[in-house]
Symmetry: C2
Subunit: 442 residues, 2 copies
Amino acid sequence: MRLSRYFLPILKETPREAEIVSHRLMLRAGMIRQQGAGSFSWLPLGKRVLDKVCKIVREEQDRAGALEILMPTIQSADLWRESGRYEAYGKEMLRIKDRHERDMLYGPTNEEMVTEIFRSYVKSYRDLPLNLYHIQWKFRDEVRPRFGVMRSREFLMKDAYSFDLDYDGAKAAYYRMFVSYLRTFTRMGLTAIPMRADTGPIGGDLSHEFIILAETGESQVYCDRAYLEMPVPGADTDFSNDAEIAGVVEQWTTPYAATDEMHDEEAWAKVGEGDQLAARGIEVGHIFHFGEKYSKPMGASVTGPDGKEHFVSMGSYGIGPSRLIAAIIEASHDENGIIWPDSIAPFDAVIINMKTGDAECDRVSEELYAAYQAAGLDVLYDDTDQRAGGKFATADLIGVPQQIIVGPRGVANAEVEVKQRKSGERAVKPIAELLASLEKAA
Amino acid sequence: MRLSRYFLPILKETPREAEIVSHRLMLRAGMIRQQGAGSFSWLPLGKRVLDKVCKIVREEQDRAGALEILMPTIQSADLWRESGRYEAYGKEMLRIKDRHERDMLYGPTNEEMVTEIFRSYVKSYRDLPLNLYHIQWKFRDEVRPRFGVMRSREFLMKDAYSFDLDYDGAKAAYYRMFVSYLRTFTRMGLTAIPMRADTGPIGGDLSHEFIILAETGESQVYCDRAYLEMPVPGADTDFSNDAEIAGVVEQWTTPYAATDEMHDEEAWAKVGEGDQLAARGIEVGHIFHFGEKYSKPMGASVTGPDGKEHFVSMGSYGIGPSRLIAAIIEASHDENGIIWPDSIAPFDAVIINMKTGDAECDRVSEELYAAYQAAGLDVLYDDTDQRAGGKFATADLIGVPQQIIVGPRGVANAEVEVKQRKSGERAVKPIAELLASLEKAA
C-alpha cells in the first residue's frame, strides 16, 4: 500500500479524552475514530489488525473442531424470556421495539439463540460433540463506557458454545477450548495465563479467565513465574485425543495463578518466594462451563445411548478481538508508539523513502516495494513528501515490525538501513541481499 | 471437512413459509435458520458461501483503490439530524433509546457517518480521491420482510463512499466502481447488466443498477442481447487510467438496457428484433452519484488548488452479499438443488463414500480426502453411514461443483466416478490419475 493513497489520519496531539495508553495510541495512529459514547469506527490501519486477530482466532477455533456460524445482532425478546434472562439482565441490555411494537434487543451474548438453533436440529447424542462459534458485534449499554475499545458499548466478540451429552463430554469440550485459547494467544505473541474464575451458582472448577500481564492492567493478579516459560502445544496438537488435551490443561492449571477476586493467601504463601509474580493483568478471554443452565429451561435435549432424553451440558468461550487489540497495545508499546507482534501487525514492513522525488531513492523504493509484494508480504510504502523525521515518527507510532530506510547516501552505496521496531536495532544491508531474500521467500 | 463432524442440518420437507426457490433451497440445504421476522442465522454451509462472496467483493474493491474500514452498526441520531434524514427516513429506520434516553438508530446505511469521518480528517484536495468502504450489518425495519435473505430486515451490505474535489473527479470515481462491479459479478459466475436508474432530485445520469437475469426475478427488464457476450475487463485493468476505465463504461452503457421503471419504448424499438431480450431480473448492486447532498449540510469540504473551500462531490456504491447469495441461487439451480458457481461454492468437491465401513471404500476415500486438502482445496467428505441415495441427494442439494463417488465396484477396478453438478456429466476416472492431478495442483 502506498501511503500517498492510503487513509492514515495520524494525530499530532494526544487526545485529551483518552485515559489509557492503548486508547491514546489507537487514536493517534489513526486506527479508530470515536463515533459516540463507547462506539468506534475502525479506520484502515485498525481494520487490518482486527482482521489479522480474527483470522488467528478463527484458525484456532477451527483446529479445535469448532464450527463457524453467524447469528444476527438483533434478537427477539421472547427467546430471552424462555431462559428468564430478559428481565434479569438489567440496563446493560439494549432493548428495542420494532415498528410493530415487538420487543427485541441487541444481543449482548448468544446463549439463548444458539440453544434455539441446537434444539431445532439436533436430536441424538450421535451428533455430539458440537461446538458452534461466531464472531459478531455485541452491544452492552455500559453506564460509563471508557478506555476506548477496551470497554466500549459496541464491541466484537468471538463466542463459542459447546453442546455435550454429559458432564464428562462437556469437560473434554472445555479442555479443547482451553488449549485452543493457549494457542490463540501465543500466536499473537502474548503470554496469557489461565486463572480460575468464579463459577457462581453453577459451581465446579470449569471457569477460567485468560490474563495477560501489562503494567497498566486493570486488575491485580498473582501467579507462579513458571507460567512465563511454560511451553504451549504446537500446531500438530491432536484435539481429538482427550487424554493429550487433558494433560496440557493439567500442566497449565497446576502452578498457582489467581486474580485478586480468587486470591488465596495460604496457597500463595506456598509458592517459592522467587517464583511469586504479583502483577497487573488484563483479561483477554473467558471460558465457562454452565451445564444445563440454558438447555433445561429451553428444552435442548438429545436422546442418549440409553434411549432417554438428556438435557445437553453446555459451555461458552469468549474472546473479544476488538478489546484484545487494546490489551495487546497495553502490553506492547514504548514512548514512541505501538510495537506490534509480527503475526498481527497491520503491515510486515514499511519502506521509508527519505527523499521522495530523488530519482535513485524512488527507484530503489519502488523496486523493494514490488519485491515485498511479490513475496506475499503486507508492505506499506511511505512515498509521501513529508520530511524524513516525520516519516520515522509515523513508522514508530504505527508499530510496523520492520522499517526499510531508503536514503540518498545509502542508495549511493547500494545499501538500505533495516530497523527492527521492537529492539530498535538498525543494520545496514546491501539492497541486492535484501532483494535476494525476498525473492527466496516469494 | 468430515460430514460426520460437520453441522449440516438438511431438511427433508420443503418449508411451507418459503415462497421463492432460493429461500426454500437455503433452508433445505441447512445454510440459514430464521430467527425472527426478516432475521437469519448463517449456519456453517451458508457462512462459507458468505465468506467467499465477501472475499471477492473485497478483492475487487481493493483493486479499484477503495480502502476498507468498519463503522459501527449503532449510530447517534444527531448525525442524521445534521443531514435532515432523521425525521425523513420513515419507519424503516430502527430507532433506539439508550439507558440515558439518548436517541440512537441501527444504521440502514452510512452516508452520514462516513461523511463525519471524512470531514474530521481530510482538509485538502491533495488527499483526494478517497473511497472508503465497509462490509457491515444493516437493519431496515421492512413492514413485511419476506423471501428469506432476499428481503430481510438485518442484512449484510458492502457500502462504499467516494469523495472528490469536483464532478469530474466524482465521475471518474463512479466509473471505477462501475468497472469494479462488472468484475465482481463476473468472478461470481454472473452476467450482471448495468441499467440506468432514476437519479431523482439529484439529476444527471450517474446511477446504475446491476441486474442479473433469472426466470424468477422480481422485476421486468429489457436489454440488448449484446450484453450477454460483452467482455468484462481482466485482472490487469489499470484503475488509475481514467481514460481506459471510461472506455469500458462507454462500451457497457451503449446498448439498450433498462428496468421497467426506466423503460423507453421508442429506444427499445430501435434495438434489432433479434437482439431484444425482455426478461426477469434481480438487482444485485446499485451505484449512485449524489454530489453535495451530504457534504453541504454536514460541512465536508476541502481546500482546492485555487485556495478556496469546496464541498466534496460524493457517490455511494452498494452490494448486499447476503441478498446476492439468494439472487445467485435464483439464477442457478435445478429441481435437485443449488448449483454453485465454482468461485463461491462452499466446497470445491464432495467425496461420497457409498459404503462407509467397507475397508477399501474407506481407504480410498481417506486417501482422496487427504489429497484434496493437500492441494489446498475445500473438500467435504461424506463419511456418514447414510445410504448412498441419501448422500447423492445431499450432494446435489448443497450444490458442490464436483462429486467424487467412491463405490465398492469402482474401487475394485481402482476407479472412482466424477460427477459435475452443473452438467450432470459423469466420468469414470482411475484413482491414480485423480491423485496425480491433485498432487500437481498442490
